[in-house]
């Protein structure tokens, strides 16, 4: 087995060398001095067989791609489910097989898949695995084996989730919030086996995610390269890092809730079950509290929103900065905003429960904390547009996605202020306004970021550019389509159309919106179909795309500075990079190029206006 490891004597010698860093021949060695390595170099397990290299692989980059592909697969399932739902809503009865049971099962599975198995897994598992080690200058995640187990737990979780489509009674149709008591009672589709598989799948996901999350956290905290301080990390890493912290502290509540619900179902305990009269018979439950589940769920659920949003914030900051050729405006403010939003997100959960029948006095507390979050979030938005200001903006596909993100995110953020403000929430909650709000802010906006990130980092992962022309088509159909789905949808909420309605019947204010529903459905079909442009684009350019070469976007951060593109296992060849500055030194006055990479030692930029970071 020993031949599978680096014979890393040379590397150790390198990392205990004490004086000048990677730059080497500067004029004044003192100026470029970076403290020697505290930790000896990581010795990695190099797989040789197909299975150890591509299946049970311990390379974070491969694991990232695996996460990405599996999450995308579940995302496509979620997309198809949403098509079926929109078919029913826009054109009732058009799909002959569609019963109310099916509809609610699709709603539930769509929600859970998109939030947990698609967005969370994609941002943290996909982008996190690929980018964290590269961006902080590590050879790999600190526990590669655990990382591999993490992915395969996720795989099993997805398999269990998908299996629930095929059990008697089908998947659970309880809504993605899984509110008891109806979740485990007759009258809700999938209350026999579907809900158990859902709970099991969530528990597996949490367990797997914990393994991955520990990796991300310790890699960021303990395995940065020389010179890489926390305040020199790209905001992408900050976003994913903070989101992982949230996940580690929020998923326990979900785990506990799922476990207690399974016990209620299987053993007949009454954690969440009060005395219940069903079809004239009193069930053998009593004394439990349904609200408790809601508290547990949202104690997880609200941080979960930011688990999706914070990586998006981070990634978008980097993309805007690189493609506007300008430093991110107010980097420190951005970091503190991410951390502040993350911390506050544990004190706002019950704003999802204003009309849930909880202690009514909570409304004051949660409305206040919720609107406090609006301040750092607004600051982030200002900083993004101030980054554009006086920039030198490349209008490529990546930038288009960024601009699309800003529009949709601000729109969704503003409607969030409606819903966070307790008495405004009363008429709007449980209506289509809510649906429109969260799709805009945590569906479309993060999706814009994901797409932007794909176009941005594809040259790194595959070594080739994606096709710009197809990319622009992809962007405009997605952006304009998605906006015209969700912007009018808010107004459905205003007229009072409740969410999770299989049919509208003939209520006067609902029938007035038939035309809008048809329009929204058509737009939804179009937007969904447009995503296949991306898949086509990827397949096409993998073979025939323009080769990207090293650092094609002229970015500063470490992931573009690997000796080989795409980076190999171990990332950095013989020598770990040494970092001298933050990753946002774009367009520094007096510098030769309009970017200064993080590894450029100060002695090479002595006569420029670069600020010390």
């Amino acid at each position: 087995m020993s031949e599978d490891f680096n014979n890393n004597k040379t590397i150790q010698a390198q990392s205990s060398e004490t004086l000048t860093g990677g730059g080497g021949g500067g004029l004044t060695p003192d100026m470029d001095y970076v403290r020697p390595a505290e930790v000896t170099d990581q010795d990695l397990y190099h797989g040789h067989s197909f299975i150890t290299k591509w299946v049970f692989c311990q390379d974070a980059k491969v694991i990232g791609v695996q996460y990405f592909l599996l999450a995308t697969f579940t995302g496509v399932v979620g997309l198809i489910l949403s098509w079926l739902m929109r078919l029913q809503l826009g054109f009732p009865g058009a799909a002959g097989f569609m019963t109310a049971e099916h509809y609610y099962q699709f709603v539930t599975m769509h929600g859970m898949i998109m939030v947990v198995y698609f967005l969370t897994a994609l941002f943290l598992g996909g982008f996190g695995n690929y980018l964290i080690p590269l961006m902080v200058g590590a050879r790999d995640m600190v526990f590669p084996y655990l990382n591999m187990v993490s992915f395969w737990s996720f795989f099993v979780a997805v398999a269990v989730l998908m299996a629930s489509f095929f059990v008697p009674g089908g998947p659970t149709g309880a809504g993605w919030t899984l509110y008891p008591p109806q979740t485990i009672l007759e009258g809700t589709p999938g209350s026999e086996y579907g809900i158990l598989l859902m709970c099991l799948s969530l528990i597996l996901f949490v367990a797997g995610f914990t393994m991955g999350g520990l990796n991300y956290l310790i890699t960021v905290l303990q395995a940065r390269t020389r010179g890489m301080t926390l305040m020199r990390m790209p905001l992408t890493v900050w976003g994913i890092f903070t989101a992982t912290v949230l996940a580690m502290l929020a998923f326990p509540a979900l785990l506990v809730g799922a476990l207690m619900m399974s016990l209620d179902k299987v053993l007949g305990t009454s954690f969440f079950m009060p005395t219940i009269l069903k079809a004239g018979e009193v069930l053998e439950y009593g004394g439990g509290s349904p609200i408790l589940f809601q508290h547990l769920f949202w104690f997880f659920g609200h941080p979960e929103v930011y688990i999706v949003a914070l990586p998006a914030f981070g990634i978008i900051s980097d993309l805007i900065s690189v493609h506007a050729r300008k430093n991110i405006f107010g980097y420190r403010m951005m970091v503190w905003a991410i951390v502040g939003i993350g911390a506050l997100s544990f004190f706002v959960w019950a704003h999802h429960m204003y009309v849930s029948g909880m202690n009514p006095w909570f409304g004051f507390f949660f409305a206040t904390t919720t609107l406090i979050i609006a301040v750092p979030t607004a600051m982030k938005v200002y900083n993004w547009i101030l980054t554009l200001w006086k920039g030198n903006i490349r209008m490529n596909t990546v930038m288009l996605w960024c601009l699309g993100f800003i529009v949709t995110f601000v729109n969704g953020g503003i409607t969030g202020i409606f819903l966070g403000n307790v008495s405004v929430d009363v008429p709007l909650s449980d209506t289509y306004f809510v649906v429109a709000h969260f799709h805009m802010v945590m569906g479309i906006a993060p999706l814009m970021v994901i797409m932007g990130a794909i176009y941005h980092w594809f040259p790194l992962v595959a070594g080739r550019f994606l096709d710009e022309k197809l990319g622009k088509w992809h962007f405009w159909t997605t952006f304009l389509g998605a906006y015209s789905i969700y912007f009018p949808m808010h107004y459905l909420g205003f007229i009072g159309v409740p969410r999770r309605y299989f049919e509208m019947y003939d209520s006067p204010y609902m029938t007035s919106a038939v035309g809008m529903n048809e329009f929204i459905s058509l737009a939804a079909f179009l937007v969904g179909a447009a995503q296949f442009i991306l898949i086509y684009n990827i397949i096409k350019t993998l073979k025939t795309g323009k080769p990207a070469g090293k650092n094609p976007w002229k970015a500063n951060s470490l992931e573009w500075l690997t000796p080989t593109v795409p980076p190999e296992h171990g990332n950095w060849g013989d020598r770990l990079p040494v970092v001298h500055r933050w990753p946002y030194d774009f367009s520094v006055p007096g510098a030769k190029e309009d970017y200064i990479t993080q590894t450029t030692p100060p002695s090479e930029v002595v006569n420029t206006g670069v600020e010390k970071t």
């Binding site: 109806q182 005395t275 006086k390 449980d430």
Partner: protein
């Protein structure tokens, strides 16, 4: 076409859509007009921020498009600008939060003269109970619910005997008289919502929740269940008829009380036993 133009058109379209939309609030029919006002205020402040931010973005896109020979500005931080923006945002947020909290304070504090209505929900329907002459509702328990006692009133509770029972999904209310809706459910979560009244609250099994409103328009309104409660959720509708005092009193007098029902049941039972004896 420059992408900025399309983004500009999107913003413009949003504003125009908002102005000319045929889909907007149903007319408010209760005292909660303040909620609409807060929404309008939020629209002005929030919408203003949305438009301002997006237009600024469009401006930047036009003005600072990539040119080979130009270099972007280099300014990592501007403490003063950031401070101004933070405070401006904070003020805006406080301006939105304050009226919201005031209205919520009204919402959770029920006026003393409000008439209590017990709304009982199940999968999938409603029924209602009004206090009798004593002005108080009797206590209830789910286990008591039978055909003879459809509301599950505790038989030993003296307040319960004169309660008025409306075994229909349509409730009549008196105009301009505050109502305290007491919600309970015998099985799963429900939510009794009339869009025109704006107010809503979940009915949670195992506890009793409440909210109040004062209808101020006569007419018929549709009640919707807006908390997902199983496959019949979308079909779980009811109705409210808001009437003037006279009509309402007339209606109320026609309704059956719990003691009426008990008497009726006893009569049937005695008839049955008589029949059996014969």
């Amino acid at each position: 076409m420059h992408p900025g133009i399309i983004f500009f058109l999107v913003i413009l379209g949003s504003i125009l859509f908002h102005i000319f939309t045929p889909w907007y609030w149903t007319d408010v029919a209760s005292n909660w007009g303040g909620m609409d006002d807060t929404i309008t205020l939020t629209f002005w402040i929030g919408g203003g921020v949305f438009v301002a931010v997006c237009l600024f973005m469009v401006y930047c896109v036009f003005k600072f498009s990539y040119k080979e020979d130009r270099k972007a500005d280099y300014q990592p931080e501007d403490k003063k600008l950031e401070k101004i923006l933070t405070w401006a945002t904070t003020i805006g947020v406080v301006a939105l939060l304050a009226p919201g909290l005031v209205i919520w304070n009204n919402y959770v504090n029920v006026p003393k003269n409000a008439i209590e209505v017990d709304v009982m929900a199940w999968q999938w329907g409603w029924q209602y109970r009004l206090p009798g002459e004593d002005g108080k509702l009797g206590t209830t328990q789910v286990v008591n619910v039978t055909d003879d006692n459809p509301f599950g009133i505790n038989l030993d509770d003296p307040y319960g005997k004169d309660d008025v029972m409306i075994q229909s999904d349509i409730l009549n209310l008196e105009n301009n008289k505050p109502v305290k809706i007491l919600l309970r459910s015998v099985d799963v979560l429900h939510n009794w919502y009339v869009p025109q009244f704006r107010a809503k609250m979940d009915a949670v099994p195992g506890i009793v929740t409440y909210y109040w409103f004062e209808p101020n328009k006569t007419g018929e309104f549709e009640v919707l269940c807006v908390e997902y409660c199983g496959v019949g959720h979308y079909a779980m509708r009811g109705g409210v008829i808001v009437q003037d005092k006279q009509d309402y009193s007339k209606w109320l007098n026609e309704q059956e009380t719990f003691s009426d029902l008990i008497a009726k049941q006893q009569k049937i039972n005695t008839d049955k036993t008589k029949l059996a004896k014969k």
